[in-house]
């Protein structure tokens, strides 16, 4: 028994430290790595609670999919391009820290002084053992008691996909026969971050009928025009 307690505190300690590191790290990629560590610790806590299925799903979904996609985006961002990342706004940061502290104290007070324990649910160790294990118990719960919620979640996911498509769809893809253009080029030095000289020979050429560059974002994206109309850059190719 004491071994389990020691291991739990070890896991919890690493989880808390890495969660703190997520906030404190100056580089977003480091934050993501520490978040990965934190997720894995949480999975370990699930294992200690006997919820192996949840632990594995936590790793597959959060660590293996969501965080990978997050990293995918972060890798393309140079932290120096984030002007307000960890700098400036001292008042807001102080207020944020204060509010966080208050919430922490509140939660601590609630945990320490709690006397209400709530009624015991049906997911006791004996019941779980009787249906054949944690995974089976979870499956039965989801497909009977929470069936409606489970089905609605599929709608939420559909909306997520649809929303992403609506927001990211090229402006005029709906018109058939329209060629794709204005793709973001990764081939530019420093990726997409530098403004291009607006002289001739720049890889973008506002072709007739194409929309003007999006203004007001602060950073100019390098747009490669229609490949067929692309002026030869650097010579030699094509």
């Amino acid at each position: 028994m004491p071994w389990e307690v020691i291991i739990f505190y070890l896991i919890a300690g690493v989880a808390i430290l890495s969660a703190g590191g997520v906030v404190a790290a100056r580089n977003p990629v480091h934050s993501a790595v520490l978040l990965m560590v934190c997720f894995i610790q949480i999975a370990a806590v699930f294992v200690m609670l006997g919820a192996e299925f949840l632990a594995v799903i936590q790793i597959i979904v959060y660590t293996g999919a969501i965080l990978v996609l997050l990293l995918f985006v972060l890798m393309l961002v140079d932290p120096e391009d984030l002007p307000e990342f960890h700098t400036g706004r001292p008042v807001q940061r102080a207020i944020g820290a204060l509010l966080g502290l208050i919430l922490l104290l509140e939660v601590a007070a609630a945990v320490v002084t709690r006397t209400i324990t709530g009624r015991q649910g049906s997911a006791t160790l004996e019941n779980i053992e009787a249906v054949g294990g944690n995974t089976e118990a979870l499956g039965r719960q989801i497909y009977t008691e929470h069936l409606l919620a489970f089905e609605i979640v599929s709608m939420v996911l559909t909306i997520g996909i649809l929303g992403a498509i609506v927001l990211a769809m090229p402006e005029r893809l709906g018109v058939s026969g329209y060629r794709r253009r204005d793709t973001i080029s990764l081939g530019h030095p420093r990726g997409t971050d530098l403004a291009l000289p607006a002289t001739a020979g720049a890889p973008i050429r506002a072709t007739a009928g194409s929309k003007p560059e999006p203004a007001g974002i602060g950073r100019t994206l390098v747009m490669a025009g229609d490949p067929d109309e692309q002026p030869v850059v650097g010579g030699g190719r094509r």
Binding site: N27, V29, H30, V33, M36, I40, E52, F53, A55, V56, I57, I59, I60, T63, G64, A65, V68, L69, L71, F72, M75, L76, G133, N134, T135, L186
Partner: protein
């Protein structure tokens, strides 16, 4: 299943790990010999009889090389990224059953390290963590080729992991368990096919899932023809361009070990693991069978590499999302319907 003392498990795990490492070394030898044969040349011949010592010489050479760290690299991430690949590749082997429980040396011994009730998902989970090693290593090198390789790896692995996971759902539904040991035991039952009586290997009842699994597994391990993250003709050598010597060898080890683990995994899931003629009486035959099955898969990997040209990136993504994903969902629906119908619950 019976409980055995922890130290026995540790010994068995130690054995497995070393077998994997040696197996990995000779996997490279096997690959080079096979590629040589397919390309009508000799492969390694000089070091030792028939070049058998070549992997060991390569290992020593790698360890002796200079360890280069780019000045702009993010040192910590650069250091531990290869370890992630290596460790996660090896851990997957922990749930592969090489047989049941045997009686040897006067004790009951389990021929598996551990029997998790979510064993199959455990393998998937660790293979999904493995991609961090690639992405982080690529990012930390601060090299454009590496970064592109890493980006490709991220997108590719996330896409094909879905196929990999969903292709197993049919197997899970038939076996009624996520434990690899239960899946293995389920496949030792007999199946009556008219006059024939065969073992209930899931390749027979889930052929589509098997094919999809193999495609996704090749992509998941970044092997040809899905080796875009390290496409040497366009990205120098992709995510490990800046890695050398010892750290490079970890990537190398990780890739080959994960191939071996995936092969063992496939053998367990679809080809009955250690089942075969006489395996119920002699446990060593079971181990032999599962190794042979794994080697067949490994040969398949090499064969693919020697045969197929590399995919273009949009083809890769199109294949995953437009072809494989609908097929794998179809497989789940059909399997579920058949399973329900056989229980009399459909309609």
């Amino acid at each position: 299943m019976n409980d055995q003392p922890l130290w026995l498990t540790f010994i068995f795990a130690f054995l497995i790990m070393n077998v994997l490492l040696i197996g990995m070394a000779y996997m490279t030898y096997f690959e080079r010999k096979m590629l040589g044969a397919m390309q009508d040349r000799m492969g390694p011949t000089r070091t030792g009889p028939k070049g058998l010592l070549q992997p060991i010489a390569d290992g020593i050479k790698l360890l002796g090389k200079e360890d280069l760290i780019p000045r702009a690299a993010d040192k910590w991430v650069f250091f531990f990224a290869p370890l992630i690949v290596f460790v996660t590749a090896i851990v997957g082997a922990a749930v592969i059953p090489f047989g049941g429980t045997i009686n040897a040396f006067g004790r009951d011994l389990n021929l598996y390290i551990t029997d998790l009730n979510v064993g199959a998902l455990f393998v998937l989970a660790f293979s999904s963590i493995g991609v961090y090693g690639i992405i982080l290593g690529a990012w930390a090198s601060s090299n454009r080729y590496s970064l592109l390789g890493g980006l490709r790896a991220a997108a590719q692995v996330v896409s094909y992991e879905i196929i990999l996971g969903l292709s197993l759902v049919g197997v899970f539904m038939l076996a009624g368990s996520l434990s690899l040991r239960d899946i293995m035991l389920e496949q030792q039952t007999n199946l009556e096919l008219g006059p024939l009586t065969v073992k209930n290997w899931f390749i027979l009842s889930q052929p589509l899932a098997f094919i999809l699994f193999m495609i996704a597994a090749v992509a998941e391990t970044n092997r040809a023809p899905f080796d875009l993250p390290e496409a040497e003709s366009e990205l120098v050598s992709g995510f490990h361009t800046e890695y050398s010597a010892f750290r490079f060898s970890f990537y190398f080890l990780g890739e080959y070990i994960s191939m071996i683990v995936v092969s063992l995994f496939a053998a367990t899931l679809f080809l009955g693991g250690p089942s075969g003629p006489g395996s119920s009486d002699h446990w060593y035959l079971g181990i032999l069978y599962i190794l042979i099955k794994a080697i067949v898969f490994l040969f398949f990997y090499i064969w693919l590499r020697a045969t197929l040209p590399r995919f273009r990136y949009d083809q890769l993504m199109g294949l995953a999302w437009k072809v494989l994903l609908p097929l794998v969902i179809l497989n789940i629906v059909v399997t579920a319907a058949i399973r329900l119908a056989s229980d009399g619950l459909l309609f």
